[in-house]
């Protein structure tokens, strides 16, 4: 009976997928959703590849999954992924049913699955990963994710005992998950941009997880990411089995060492986040048995799609599009830090506006006070336009961050913002945007480009 139900769910969801694709939809969620509705145990019965690698964490899971798929596919493995789709249970079900025969048998030998942290309980009991990569755990939405220790709990209670964890040694939250499981760590050695004292408002690991004494950071990248030890009880960050050193962002190289050797790699991106992503990928591939030479060959032809950052010239101005996830203080802090460090004069539009929230309630703006707007208080930033329904809140937050009042403008209507900027030759205009209203973002971008072109002609 159960088998019959599964087959029925499989066939109907396969038909739904086919129909959706015929009308040019991605069909990465609904078929799996349907399968799970028809057969709640669908994930238990659908065929799974022999080796399963799951990738989870607050940041970097998409990049890591994509790189892993690219390198493994390049080596000739038949790899199933959920690259185009959803990372919740329905998305995973969609990927597995798409990769199975009409009788539910898998056609792949390996799966690399990006998994939403909160979906762990619905996925891992049925799709048992051989390896679980946790990139990091940070704060996200206050409403949904509360705090990173809460999210760690979701993963911890769902991971099978036999799963080998591949963990970030520089993150004391994720590296502490499931201490009894087999594990390997990756980490980055000291970098010239490191600090000892936290300069961020979000700093989620300040006390020793063992004795609650003061933690001392030997070096710190940002927030709680770094290498720490406790003076009281001797607790320290775990040692990295896969360790990146000689990281040279100017030359674009790093060396990754493990017990069996080391290799120099070309950096795919100079951002610290993406260096972590690369080392994560290298650690996972080494665990899967690839040699450094094979991994380097694979990564040399790979690239990181910078969907969150885009810069192009319009007249004499560079228009920079930088995504900064709505309601996410950490994403905002990282984006502000990056943008404020770019060379030259900059003007900024803040458009991380939860327009959809505004339709049915009012955005919880507490995150503004966890987010480092202080990075925007720089001489090279000459004007900041706060937009949208919460523009007044942004203006107040900018004032508290020390930004002089004369630099701040307020535009309730986002399309008015470009009119409030100067388009000085050689300067940059940065549009920091959330994902809530992309259509409006593109309209603002188009207007920026038009005004920049006009200013150039004049």
């Amino acid at each position: 009976m159960v088998r019959l139900r599964f087959i029925l769910a499989l066939w109907l969801s396969k038909c739904a997928r086919l129909a959706l694709r015929l009308v040019r939809r991605n069909a990465t969620y609904f078929p799996g959703f349907l399968a799970l509705r028809l057969c709640p145990d669908f994930l238990r019965y659908v065929g799974k590849p022999e080796k399963i690698i799951a990738v989870t964490g607050s940041n970097g899971k998409t990049t890591v999954s994509n790189l892993l798929c690219d390198v493994l596919a390049g080596k000739g493995y038949r790899v199933l992924g959920n690259r185009l789709g959803s990372n919740v249970a329905a998305g995973i079900a969609t990927s597995l049913l798409a990769g199975s025969t009409v009788f539910g048998k898998t056609q792949y030998e390996m799966a690399v699955l990006e998994v939403d942290e909160r979906s762990s309980k619905r996925i891992y009991p049925f799709v048992k990963p051989d390896y679980l990569i946790i990139t990091n755990l940070f704060r996200d939405s206050i409403m949904r994710n509360a705090h990173p220790q809460y999210i760690a709990g979701f993963i911890e209670e769902a991971v099978p005992e036999t799963t080998k964890l591949i963990l970030n040694a520089d993150d004391l939250i994720s590296s502490a998950i499931c201490p009894e499981n087999p594990r390997a760590h990756f980490g980055l050695g000291p970098m010239k941009t490191d600090v000892e004292t936290c300069v961020n408002l979000i700093n989620d690991v300040q006390i020793c997880p063992v004795c609650c004494g003061e933690l001392v950071y030997d070096y710190r990248r940002y927030h709680h990411i770094g290498k720490a030890h406790c003076r009281g009880c001797g607790f320290a960050s775990p040692q990295s089995e896969y360790f990146a050193r000689e990281i040279d962002t100017d030359a674009g190289t790093m060396t990754v060492a493990d017990k069996n050797g080391e290799m120099s790699y070309r950096l795919l991106s100079g951002s610290v986040f993406n260096i972590y992503n690369m080392v994560t990928v290298i650690a996972a591939l080494r665990e899967l048995g690839l040699s450094h030479a094979e991994i380097r060959q694979g990564l040399d032809t790979a690239s990181i799609v910078e969907t969150r950052y885009n810069a192009r010239k319009a007249g004499g101005v560079t228009i920079i599009m930088q995504m900064s996830k709505d309601k996410n203080a950490l994403a905002g802090s990282r984006a502000f830090d990056y943008i404020s460090g770019l060379p030259g004069r900059k003007e900024i539009i803040l458009m991380m506006n939860c327009a959809h929230d505004q339709q049915h309630w009012s955005e919880n703006t507490a995150w503004l006070y966890d987010c480092d707007f202080e990075f925007l208080n720089r001489e090279t930033i000459t004007r900041i336009v706060a937009t949208g329904p919460r523009a007044k809140d942004y203006c107040l937050r900018l004032l508290l961050a020390g930004v002089p009042e004369e630099k701040i403008r307020c535009a309730f209507h986002e399309l008015d913002a470009p009119d409030l900027l100067e388009y000085a030759e050689g300067s940059s205009i940065c549009l920091l945007y959330g994902t809530d209203v992309l259509a409006l973002v593109y309209k603002v971008q188009a207007k920026l480009e038009k005004l920049a072109q006009e200013a150039s002609v004049q």
Binding site: I142, A146, W361, S362, N364, D370, C395
Partner: protein, 236 residues
């Protein structure tokens, strides 16, 4: 004027700490004391004017309760004597009888107020909040795993829209003399300049303008108008 922030290395969630920064900017004469978990609280010396405790993780609630338990009598004496306390988010629960988990287990708290909390980690409650502190309108946000039950304390705010100590009652938070605890989390003082003015008055600085008061009032009045609109949804 002394303001003590208890255990900021463990109580740092949701922007609550910016309330203290706002007080520092508004009251430059104030001395801010940040007391770590392993140090005795400055309030034991009897010369602290305002004690602050902010939102924290569930694990930190245990640590903070353990750190404060030896000083329960002194805290009670300070509350009875009129010392100002500002307690935000789930820090409120440190001062009640206990927190009950889904499985029936309990975390015993300080027992200073005859209230209990029920924690449901799978059921996060998110809402806007509109209430009254005397004649002052209060706006804010709630995002929590717990609600508090019982009649063993007066409320700090009287709820107009949103949940009180639990969704079924109007009193929100706890008030006794100048002890003020509320589930309204985040930048409560920045969002509510009239309430901040009241606290500044308690601290002996009723006339001094608040930091960026005009901008804060602009933001406050806009939010108050939004939250007072009956068509505005309040639950996330």
């Amino acid at each position: 004027m002394k303001i003590e922030v208890l255990y900021p290395e463990a109580c740092y969630l949701y922007g609550d700490l910016m309330n203290i920064e706002y007080l520092r900017r508004s009251l430059p004469q104030a001395e801010i004391i940040r007391t770590p978990l392993r140090a005795p609280p400055a309030f034991l010396n009897g010369d602290v004017d305002l004690v602050c405790l902010c939102s924290m993780t569930e694990r930190a609630q245990e640590l903070v309760t353990a750190a404060l338990r030896p000083h329960t009598k002194q805290i009670k004496a300070l509350i009875d004597g009129g010392t100002i306390f500002l307690v935000t988010g789930n820090a409120l629960e440190v001062f009640i009888r206990y927190i009950e988990n889904e499985d029936g287990s309990r975390m015993e708290a300080l027992g200073l107020f005859d209230l209990i909390a029920k924690r449901r980690m799978a059921d996060r409650y998110n809402s806007l909040y509109l209430g009254k502190f005397g004649e002052i309108d209060i706006v804010g946000f709630k995002s929590q795993f717990t609600h508090t039950y019982g009649d063993g304390a007066a409320g700090l705010f009287e709820t107009v829209r949103g949940a009180g100590r639990n969704p079924g009652v109007k009193p929100e938070g706890i008030r006794k003399n100048n002890f003020m605890a509320t589930y309204v989390l985040g930048p409560l003082l920045i969002l509510n300049p009239p309430f901040t003015r009241h606290i500044a008055g308690l601290l002996g600085a009723p006339e001094r303008p608040l930091a960026f008061e005009a901008a804060a009032m602009d933001s406050y009045l806009l939010r108050l108008k939004e939250f007072s609109d009956p068509r505005r949804g309040f639950d996330y």
